[in-house]
């Protein structure tokens, strides 16, 4: 299995001299099975650069799994060039939003409206299919099995585990591990904590023993103090997950938009110093680098 990050930035694209090394596109990850089946995790702006590399492979079959429908994870969909070209087959997977009861096709159809985009959905020439995925129910793509799990974020968010050819990857999408909303002196504290612990165990089980764990690590602990409830993890929450799940490699992604390459590297050096014996490799997600597991 091969992995390539095409977008590593959270919230909004951040082009410019300060993000040249790690990249400024919003979330998009390319995964290739040993048979070269194409799985794409999220369709942030990074998917546009990925699309350029696919033009020489046409017609293509692409399986795009959307973790959640916040803009930074779907805004590249209308710029995924293969959707305009006949004979391409593109299947977009996602959950049903429990608030709106809308399926994943809305992620594209909302963007392809007159006010927002010059091309109508009916004018797309590729064969586009939508599939609703459910937590815990595996989906097959070639030799790969993709299993979603609900991970807490301000909108329905799936983490996806991809098992393929004896290897495995887990991507959290955007995820803030749930904190106890009660204070220790509240009657509800203990009970709520038992729910938090049970969910934690479920999450760890879903990412157990993966070769690569890709986590939303938007914040440092200091930043997180004022950003609780925003729906994102920290570098340390990522390390805690990888430790519990016994992951082999941990990739930090969803870099905070104001984070420069230099500050990202400074944080990374600190992490290496403070976590000398994790038993797994710590890595910063970087756009355009080929990763073989």
């Amino acid at each position: 299995m091969k992995i390539k990050f095409w977008g590593v930035r959270g919230s909004i694209p951040t082009p410019g001299p300060n993000t040249v090394k790690y990249g400024g596109n919003t979330t998009c990850i390319e995964i290739r099975t040993n048979d070269n089946d194409l799985i794409i995790l999220d369709a942030g702006t990074g998917i546009h650069a990925l699309a350029q590399t696919l033009l020489k492979e046409m017609p293509i079959q692409a399986h795009i799994f959307i973790t959640h429908t916040h803009w930074d994870h779907i805004q590249g969909l209308p710029f995924f060039i293969p959707i305009f070209i006949p004979n391409n087959q593109i299947k977009i997977y996602g959950g049903i939003d429990p608030v709106t009861n809308e399926t994943i096709n809305r992620a594209l159809s909302v963007q392809l409206q007159y006010s927002f985009f010059p091309i109508r959905e009916a004018q797309l020439n590729a064969r586009i299919e939508y599939a609703t995925v459910k937590p815990g129910e595996p989906v097959k793509v070639g030799s790969a099995t993709i299993t979603p799990i609900v991970l807490s974020h301000p909108v329905l968010n799936f983490g996806y585990r991809i098992d393929c050819d004896g290897q495995s990857v887990f991507f959290t999408g955007d995820y803030e591990p749930q904190l106890n909303i009660y204070d220790p002196e509240d009657d509800e504290y203990t009970e709520f904590q038992s729910f938090v612990d049970a969910k934690w165990d479920e999450v760890v089980l879903a990412m157990k023993d993966v070769d690569a764990l890709i986590v939303d690590s938007s914040y440092t602990n200091e930043e997180y103090a004022s950003k609780q409830g925003w729906g994102h993890g920290t570098y340390d929450s990522g390390i805690k997950l990888a430790t519990a799940a016994k992951a082999k490699k941990l990739f930090f992604t969803h870099h905070e938009p104001t984070r420069s390459d230099a500050s990202l590297e400074a944080i990374y050096q600190n992490l290496l110093q403070n976590n000398p014996a994790t038993g797994f490799e710590l890595l910063l997600a970087q756009e355009g680098v080929d990763i073989s597991l």
Partner: protein, 282 residues
């Protein structure tokens, strides 16, 4: 009641608004970016209609959760507060349950009875040493046990009015007079809805059989049965049913006391009533 009528009822209940105080509080709390999570959760878990709509959304087979989620708190842990908050806001946008319905059913009194039954049911669960999950499930079961009544008041007010009046005048159990005038009682209606909404089996069973405790073994239902009688005995509202049922043998064995001994043993439950009232009075 014929199936087509059941289907119609299910469709109608989709649009059923929540109780006025919770609607008001949800609108207020969700427009304050600094509102605390626990305040929001507290409002939702004290409104039977908001609770049921959240459990329905989360347990829908569209999401296919391997295990049913039975409480608002667990729903928050599972999917995150913002989604739960927005489902509640969607319910609030449907308006408020009117205090005056054609059935003359006192909805404040109903809510007081539901909330105190919920709290007492949880208290009983704690006393007999159930797990924290089961205790919170007992709260939910107590809150929802009479859900069918408010549905009748809203959508079958003429028939329900007759059932309420006959129950009151002749001191008959309301679930009996409901059968006569509506053809189905509130526990059966509650069961149909709870099944349609894919709630957990113990919860469905507790709603379906809270007047029929010989049905089978269900500790959740036993807690709700006992709490229901205690709430009425303490005059914390009666949900329209004037009759208090004695504890049958299985309940006495379960809790080690009959109704009056249990009430004595529980002592002053006034704080439960006062807390419940804070979620009722606008």
């Amino acid at each position: 009641m014929p199936n087509s009528k059941n289907e119609k009822l299910i469709v109608l209940v989709e649009k059923m608004p929540a109780f006025p105080k919770s609607v008001q509080q949800i609108v207020q709390l969700t427009s304050d970016i600094n509102a605390s999570a626990k305040d929001i959760v507290r409002v939702i878990e004290c409104d039977p209609i908001m609770t049921v709509k959240i459990l329905k959304a989360i347990n829908s087979s569209f999401y296919g959760l391997p295990q049913k989620i039975t409480s608002v708190q667990r729903a928050v842990v599972h999917i995150g507060l913002n989604t739960i908050k927005n489902i509640a806001l969607g319910v609030a946008a449907m308006g408020m349950l009117s205090a005056n319905n054609k059935a003359n059913f006192n909805t404040s009194n109903f809510l007081l009875h539901s909330l105190t039954t919920a709290a007492i049911s949880k208290l009983l669960a704690e006393r007999i040493g159930l797990s924290s999950t089961e205790c919170s499930d007992c709260f939910v079961a107590g809150l929802l046990h009479d859900f069918g009544k408010v549905v009748f008041a809203e959508f079958m007010p003429d028939e329900f009015k007759l059932a309420l009046e006959k129950s009151q005048e002749q001191q008959l159990p309301l679930h009996q007079t409901e059968l006569e005038f509506i053809g189905i009682n509130h526990s059966q209606a509650g069961k149909i809805l709870a099944e349609k909404w894919e709630l957990s089996d113990p919860l469905i069973d507790a709603i379906a059989h809270h007047h029929d405790i010989d049905h089978n073994q269900n500790v959740l239902r036993d807690c709700v049965f006992a709490a229901n009688q205690i709430s009425k005995h303490m005059q914390f509202g009666n949900g329209g049913n004037p009759l208090i049922e004695a504890f049958p043998e299985s309940i006495v064995i379960r809790f080690g006391a009959n109704l009056s001994a249990m009430c004595d043993d529980l002592g002053d439950l006034e704080s439960i009533k006062i807390e419940a009232q804070s979620f009722i009075n606008v």
